[in-house]
Each structure stands twice: as structure tokens, then as C-alpha cells.
């Protein structure tokens, strides 16, 4: 009796959980297909008047195209719960050949009403796939073409740099560089952040207008001319900047990295101020974003922002080519203190940590 009721419970809960599996919707001509999905660790539990869904999806995707895949972005939405926003899961630094498969994890949590509709609470779609020839497939609603391409450029830059270290100074030179990078990562301050659209200030600190200082990178095709933002305690909002195209090519997109400094002199990278624009050679334009960043302090002294520095972190020209800071640019002490290594560098460091120097060199030689 007991075992059958337990079995009944298991069957019931499996059946019940099947109703909350995400809906994965890929286009018919998608270059990737889901060939397996495992939700083994997922659960749904009642919590007050709502259901807490803990979804752990281990997907296996297959490259069904003839080209090598370098990056992919999946779009994740929960219209019933948060109609005002969406999420994404992006994997970069991939090297997936035609008809090869690769894993992708999605771990999310949401509270849904008890009286929810029978529709799947989570929808997963494809925003984009980047191939090794830098061609792109996808709806690009989230701007993943640009994000994936930038990541790929950074990855190529860093792999080339590390290979040059081995060529110039042998494996030990590479090892020293990796260890230095790990040291910098350990020292780099990390902060939690909240962002709200519309500039709603939530603290009572007096607000002040603070001008940007700028870190000028010598090869940057864009010159930042001036700018300011509103600062109140641990909140920074509504940055506005003026930039000039100093190259001979029209620019359609750029990002300005935003470094904040607190009253103790600690600096950290707050975020980036992006701008889609049509900037002809020699032309100036202003960039303006109406959002608020807040840096909540979980215990300890609250942050008090005192100063700001901006720097050009990426540029996309009208012809689709891109500019990113070189390794030499990133070696500037102020940037080195605040900027995290690229995703590719972090991946290579992970390989070194888990498998050693030779495995790292073997990985570099694959490309």
C-alpha cells in the first residue's frame, strides 16, 4: 500500500512537472537543434499562494550546419511572470564543427501564480548563432550578433597574444602571464548592481552632477569630448557623454566603459554606456541614457561614489567591422585594475588550472 502510494506520488509529480517544462521553439531552418534535454534536478514546490519553479535544464544541441559555430544566444522569457523583461543565455568561445553536439545549461527560478494558465511558464528561443566566418543567423532581437562578434574578436585577440608569448618566451612566459592574470582577478573589486530604467532615485543622499574624466586609448577611432552623470551616494544615473569620430570611416555603434571611484579611492567598472548612432568621420554626437545604477552593499560600509572615468571600450563601423582595445591598451594600470579578462582568457585560465600548462598550449594550438 505504502509503495503504491509513493509510486503514485512520484508519477503524479512527474506528470505535474511535465506541465511546467519550458517550451523550446527554434525556427525550422535553425542551424542548431536540441537533441536531448534533461531536467533531472528541476522541481516545483508550493510557496504560499504561488508555485516556485526551480528549472535546471541540461540541453544538448547539435550543429546541423556546414560551418563551425563560435557562439550562440538563447532567448529566455516568462511572459506570465515578468512580461516586462526577458533573459538570455549566451555561450561564446565555442568551436563546434558541423554535426557535432555541445551542451548548454539553463538554470532559472521563478515564482508563478497558483492559478497559472496551462501554457509553459518558460519559453526558450534562438536569438542568434555566430559562425567562424563571422556570418550570423538569427532574429537578433537582443543584439546578439554584435555581442557574439565582439566576444569572438576578443577571443582571437587574446589567443593571438598568448601564442605570441609562447613564441617569444616559451611556455614559462605564458605561465607567468596566466598567473599574473589570476592575481589581478583576485584583487579586482566586485560589486552587486541594480539597474532601473527611468532614473528613479531611491536614496536620500543629495544628488550632485559629476563630470567624466577620460582615459584616452591612442588607437581608438572615437574621442570622448566630455560628459557627466548624476551621483547620489551609491547611485549613479543618467550619464550623458559627447564623442567625436576621429577615424575616416562612418561609425554605427560604440560603447563607453564607465569606471566609478569611491571616496576611499577604490575603482570599479560600473558598466557600459552604449550608443547606436550614425557618426560620420569628424562628426560629434551626444550619448544619453536614462537609467539608474545602484550598488547595494551587503554588510560593510556603504559605497559613496566620488568620481568617474570613461573610456571607449568598443566601436562598430558602418561596414560591420569592429574596433576593440588592444592588449597594450588593456595593460594601462587603471584599466588593468578594473577590467575583468575576456571570456576566452577566463576559459584558458580554467584549462590551465584544471589540466596544466601543456593542455593550455594544446588548446591554443587548435586555433
Amino acid at each position: 500500500m505504502r509503495s503504491s502510494s509513493v509510486l503514485g506520488l512520484i508519477l503524479w509529480s512527474s506528470a505535474a512537472f511535465a506541465g511546467v517544462l519550458p517550451k523550446i521553439d527554434l525556427p525550422k531552418d535553425s542551424p542548431v537543434a536540441v537533441i536531448a534535454s534533461d531536467y533531472g534536478e528541476s522541481s516545483e514546490t508550493a510557496r504560499g499562494g504561488a508555485m516556485l519553479l526551480d528549472l535546471h535544464a541540461a540541453l544538448t544541441l547539435r550543429n546541423s550546419s556546414q560551418r563551425r559555430i563560435r557562439g550562440i544566444t538563447l532567448l529566455v522569457t516568462a511572459q506570465e511572470v515578468t512580461p516586462g523583461g526577458k533573459g538570455s543565455v549566451t555561450v561564446t568561445s565555442l568551436d563546434v564543427g558541423p554535426f557535432e553536439s555541445f551542451p548548454l545549461h539553463i538554470d532559472l527560478r521563478l515564482l508563478r501564480p497558483l492559478q497559472a494558465s496551462s501554457a509553459a511558464p518558460v519559453q526558450i528561443g534562438l536569438d542568434g548563432v555566430l559562425f567562424d566566418d563571422l556570418s550570423f543567423y538569427g532574429s537578433d532581437k537582443l543584439g546578439s550578433r554584435r555581442t557574439l562578434t565582439l566576444s569572438e574578436f576578443e577571443a582571437r585577440r587574446d589567443r593571438k597574444y598568448f601564442k605570441s608569448l609562447v613564441a617569444e618566451g616559451g611556455p614559462e612566459r605564458l605561465r607567468r602571464e596566466i598567473l599574473e592574470s589570476m592575481d589581478h582577478s583576485a584583487e579586482r573589486p566586485t560589486l552587486d548592481v541594480q539597474m532601473v530604467r527611468g532614473g528613479r532615485a531611491t536614496n536620500f543622499e543629495p544628488e550632485k552632477q559629476v563630470q567624466f574624466a577620460f582615459l584616452r586609448l591612442p588607437d581608438s577611432p572615437v574621442d570622448p569630448m566630455g560628459g557627466m552623470a548624476r551621483i547620489a551616494g551609491n547611485e549613479a544615473r543618467a550619464p550623458r557623454l559627447e564623442v567625436k569620430n576621429r577615424s575616416d570611416r562612418p561609425i554605427r555603434y560604440l560603447e563607453i566603459g564607465w569606471i566609478l571611484e569611491d571616496h576611499g579611492g577604490r575603482q570599479f567598472l560600473a558598466g557600459s554606456v552604449p550608443a547606436e548612432l550614425n557618426l560620420a568621420p569628424g562628426q560629434k554626437s551626444q550619448i544619453l541614457e536614462n537609467a539608474t545604477l545602484k550598488f547595494p552593499t551587503r554588510g560593510g560600509t556603504p559605497l559613496a561614489i566620488e568620481a568617474m572615468t570613461g573610456f571607449v571600450s568598443s566601436v562598430e563601423f558602418a561596414d560591420g567591422s569592429m574596433w576593440i582595445p588592444s592588449r597594450a591598451d588593456l595593460g594601462v594600470p587603471q584599466l588593468q585594475r578594473v577590467m575583468a579578462p575576456s571570456g576566452e582568457e577566463q576559459r584558458l585560465i580554467q584549462i590551465y588550472r584544471k589540466k596544466g600548462l601543456q593542455a593550455l598550449i594544446a588548446e591554443l594550438n587548435k586555433f
Binding site: E207, Q211, M225, G227, A238, L277, Q286, L288
Partner: protein
């Protein structure tokens, strides 16, 4: 119910009160709208807040002791309404990227050609957006509405010294902005 063709005394007094109200609104509508518009920075919000300010004022007209001070009293209600709105919503209205006017003239264009009336006005309007909300509000109440500094302080719920500071900063910034428009930019920070 009045006799046909001959309004009763009550009807007459009601009509007169209505007329006074209409007159009060029409005499002050543009001024109050502009005051609120300059504080909040957009027409849609300014319209809602102007309506709200007049509704509040007319509902509280028994609180008005001195009829000669009605205009000032209304300004006070209007600016409080706008300031409360900004406080609740944290809205800051900068001009949008497309509508920004480049104050610089192109190298081949003379200063006289560059300064056309509408461009000049747009440039001045942009200058107001360079001020903080509090600076702009203090400047508008003091220099445009002509309220004395202590009354501005009361409306903005801060000390007279703070208001003076806002007013001075606003005047200095606006003047610097005007100076900037007369010479080429390019000053590196």
C-alpha cells in the same frame, strides 16, 4: 429652478463664481503651464500637472486670504506639484539625442550664419537641461517667477543658504553654457 429668461439671484451668483473661476484659469494658464513645463521638461507631464495644480488651487480657494497674492499662491501650488512629481518619479528630462542642437558652427560657417533665431532658442533651452532639477527649479522660481529667496526656500523645502547656492550655481552654469556657445569646444577633461 429659475423662471424662464430671468436668472435667479442664486443662478447669478453661481454664474459669477463660475466666471471668476474661468477668468482665474485663463489669466494664469499659460504662465503656470510654462513654469511647470520648465521644471519637468515635457509637454505631456506638464499638461497633467497644470490641470492638477489648478484643480487643487480652486478646491482650496477658501485658504487664500489675500486676493492680491493669488498669482503667487498659485505659483506655489504649481511648483510644489511639479517638484512632488519629480520626487515621486525621479524623472529627469534631458533632451533626446535627435533633438540636440550642436552649438558649434562648422569651420566653414560664420558665427553669424550659425546663430539663427530658432537655433539660438533651441540652444538656450538645451542650456536649461544642463542644470540639475533643483538648480533649474530654484532659478525658475527666483528669476522667472520673481519669488523672493526665502519663499523659494520654503517651496523647495530647504534652507535659504541652500537655495542661494542653487541659484548662484544655476546662474553661473547657464552663463558658462552661453559662453561655450560663443567659442569652439574641444576642451579636454
Amino acid at each position: 429652478m429659475s423662471e424662464r429668461g430671468a436668472p435667479s439671484q442664486l443662478d447669478a451668483s453661481l454664474q459669477s463664481a463660475q466666471e471668476l473661476q474661468n477668468r482665474f484659469v485663463s489669466d494664469n494658464l499659460r504662465r503656470i503651464f510654462l513654469l511647470i513645463y520648465r521644471i519637468v521638461g515635457n509637454v505631456a507631464d506638464a499638461q497633467d500637472l497644470t490641470q492638477e495644480a489648478f484643480i487643487k488651487a480652486l478646491q482650496r480657494q477658501d485658504q487664500l486670504k489675500d486676493i492680491d497674492k493669488a498669482a503667487h499662491w498659485l505659483s506655489r501650488i504649481a511648483s510644489n506639484t511639479a517638484i512632488d512629481f519629480l520626487r515621486r518619479n525621479g524623472k529627469v528630462n534631458f533632451c533626446e539625442i535627435d533633438s540636440l542642437v550642436d552649438p558649434l558652427s562648422e569651420p566653414s560657417e560664420s558665427p553669424e550664419q550659425a546663430v539663427l533665431r530658432t537655433e539660438h532658442r533651441a540652444y538656450l533651452e538645451q542650456g536649461l537641461t544642463c542644470l540639475t532639477e533643483r538648480e533649474r527649479t530654484a532659478l525658475l522660481l527666483r528669476d522667472v517667477e520673481g519669488l523672493p529667496a526665502d519663499e523659494v526656500a520654503e517651496q523647495m523645502n530647504c534652507s535659504k543658504a541652500t537655495v542661494r547656492s542653487h541659484i548662484a550655481n544655476a546662474r553661473i552654469k547657464f552663463k558658462r553654457y552661453m559662453d561655450r556657445g560663443r567659442r569652439p569646444m574641444g576642451k579636454k577633461v
